[in-house]
């Protein structure tokens, strides 16, 4: 008799505890992916209020207990942890559930810099972030391919698996000036960025001088880097003249591949030319030493 009494007591306690822990009538699927529509069956009777609180959502609906609660694709677009709360009068019960990101569908692609000198090793950084169609970070590894295409050639990287949604690479700049197109692709999704490759420092900078009355005309040969790429127009070339009156300097931009200027000439002078860190030839005019 005593044993039956104890068993009855224990069963009553368990029944009360299990009622207290389970939110009334909310059963959610174990695995939900962003953008999935979900139906939540509810139980009971009477009118209730349902709340859906999540990373990108705060919804409130009046429902009839016992009817199904429909959560649309838009309700569960953002990945993260949601709270489903159901209130009957002042009594509320809640349960949390996780919405996982969908498969990768979009790429955020960051390439830096947008302008680079030729012949620079590992100088271009390309970073891509994989997102699903709702712009959630896709944490599961996905294969991303990088491709660089210039007028000389095209090179593709082997497929690279993302780590925590990110894949990245470094690229050398090419040997010829011009644009290089850098692509990141994931399945059908592809993003393209363009990097302008320009000549490196000038090579064999050479100036010639021609005296015209009391002036001297200075002009460089076409300014090119050591690979033969023309140094871009607008690059500054500095001409320096040293004579008995002292030193005078003119900065002239390259136009159509050459830099040109005129300076006053009043006797023996030494003329030099420089562009960036590169020095050109010196010219002695009028018997200067």
């Amino acid at each position: 008799m005593r044993v039956i009494g104890i068993l009855f007591f224990l069963c009553s306690v368990f029944a009360i505890l299990s009622q207290a822990q389970t939110p009334p009538g909310l059963r959610l699927p174990a695995n939900i992916v962003a953008g999935e529509a979900v139906t939540i069956p509810s139980s009971g009777s009477g009118s209730e209020t349902f709340y859906l609180i999540g990373p990108g959502r705060a919804a409130k609906r009046n429902i009839q207990a016992g009817e199904n609660i429909q959560l649309s694709s838009a309700d569960l677009g953002a990945a993260g942890t949601y709270q489903a709360i159901i209130c009957s009068g002042d009594d509320c019960a809640s349960t949390s559930f996780y919405v996982a990101p969908d498969r990768g569908k979009e790429l955020v692609f960051l390439v830096h810099p947008s302008r680079i000198a030729v012949g620079q090793p590992n100088a271009i950084s390309a970073v891509t972030v994989v997102l699903d169609r709702f712009h959630n970070l896709v944490v599961q590894p996905e294969a991303v391919t990088f491709r660089a295409t210039s007028k000389e050639n095209g090179i593709s990287s082997p497929p690279q698996m993302t780590r925590n949604g990110v894949a990245w690479t470094r690229l050398n700049s090419g040997t010829k000036d011009g644009t290089v197109e850098i692509n990141a692709s994931l399945g059908q999704a592809s993003e393209r960025r363009v990097v302008q490759q320009v000549a490196a420092e000038p090579c064999h900078l050479h100036v010639s001088a021609e005296q015209k009355g009391n002036r001297v005309v200075l002009q460089t040969e076409p300014v090119r880097d050591c690979r033969g790429n023309a140094v871009p127009d607008g690059t500054i070339v500095t001409f320096t003249k040293t004579d008995k009156l002292g030193r005078s300097t003119v900065d002239a931009p390259i136009k159509k591949g050459v830099a040109r200027t005129e300076m006053a000439f009043g006797g023996p002078a030494m003329i030099s030319v420089a562009c960036g860190v590169v020095l050109g030839n010196d010219i002695q005019m009028g018997g200067a030493r």
Binding site: G56, Y98, L110
Partner: protein, 174 residues
């Protein structure tokens, strides 16, 4: 006489005076959540100044997010959120304001790990292990309250004078 001198000296040195160095308050006027950066995985090393800025700006981002979700003010997001994160939280706040819902956060601190800092310094991915309490209200009615230990993935990018949160997504604990 010797006794008198000793007592005088004792009194002189025991008179409470103004301390020579003032003790600065360790609690700033506007307190930010506690944020620590515990590890960094490269490939670029995080410079000291960048580290300080990240810690400050990430803490400030959480503070403004909590205030925005409590007061239903989307404008508070402008300072430290951009891109998808800003769009998402703006939408949430707008929906909260339309339904009378608001959330109250009590932030217990963040442990950050830099998962990726791009070679050009243009983007940083962080993992945040955070503990906070959240209360969800409909008007004055408390709907739900819990203490949360969560893990977030964060993308931050530099703006003119600060780092902005571009993506903030919670993920299941590893």
């Amino acid at each position: 006489m010797k006794l008198f001198a000793s007592v005088a000296a004792c009194l002189f040195f025991s008179v409470p005076g103004t301390p020579q160095t003032g003790v600065a308050s360790s609690t700033p006027t506007v307190s930010l959540p506690r944020v620590n950066l515990i590890a960094s995985r490269g490939p670029r090393e995080i410079e000291d100044l960048t580290r300080q800025k990240i810690l400050h700006d990430y803490a400030a981002a959480w503070k403004t997010l909590a205030a925005g979700l409590e007061q239903n003010r989307a404008d508070l997001l402008n300072d430290y959120f951009t891109g998808f994160a800003k769009d998402e939280f703006r939408r949430t706040i707008k929906e909260q304001a339309g339904t009378g819902i608001h959330r109250h956060y009590v932030d217990h601190g963040h442990k950050l790990e830099a998962l990726f800092y791009s070679p050009d310094g243009g983007v940083m991915q962080l993992q945040d292990n955070v503990e906070y309490e959240v209360q969800i209200f409909d008007g004055a009615k408390l709907l739900h309250s819990e203490t949360v230990n969560a893990r977030y993935f964060v993308l931050m990018t530099p703006a003119a004078d600060r780092w902005m949160v571009r993506l903030l997504q919670d993920v299941p604990a590893s």
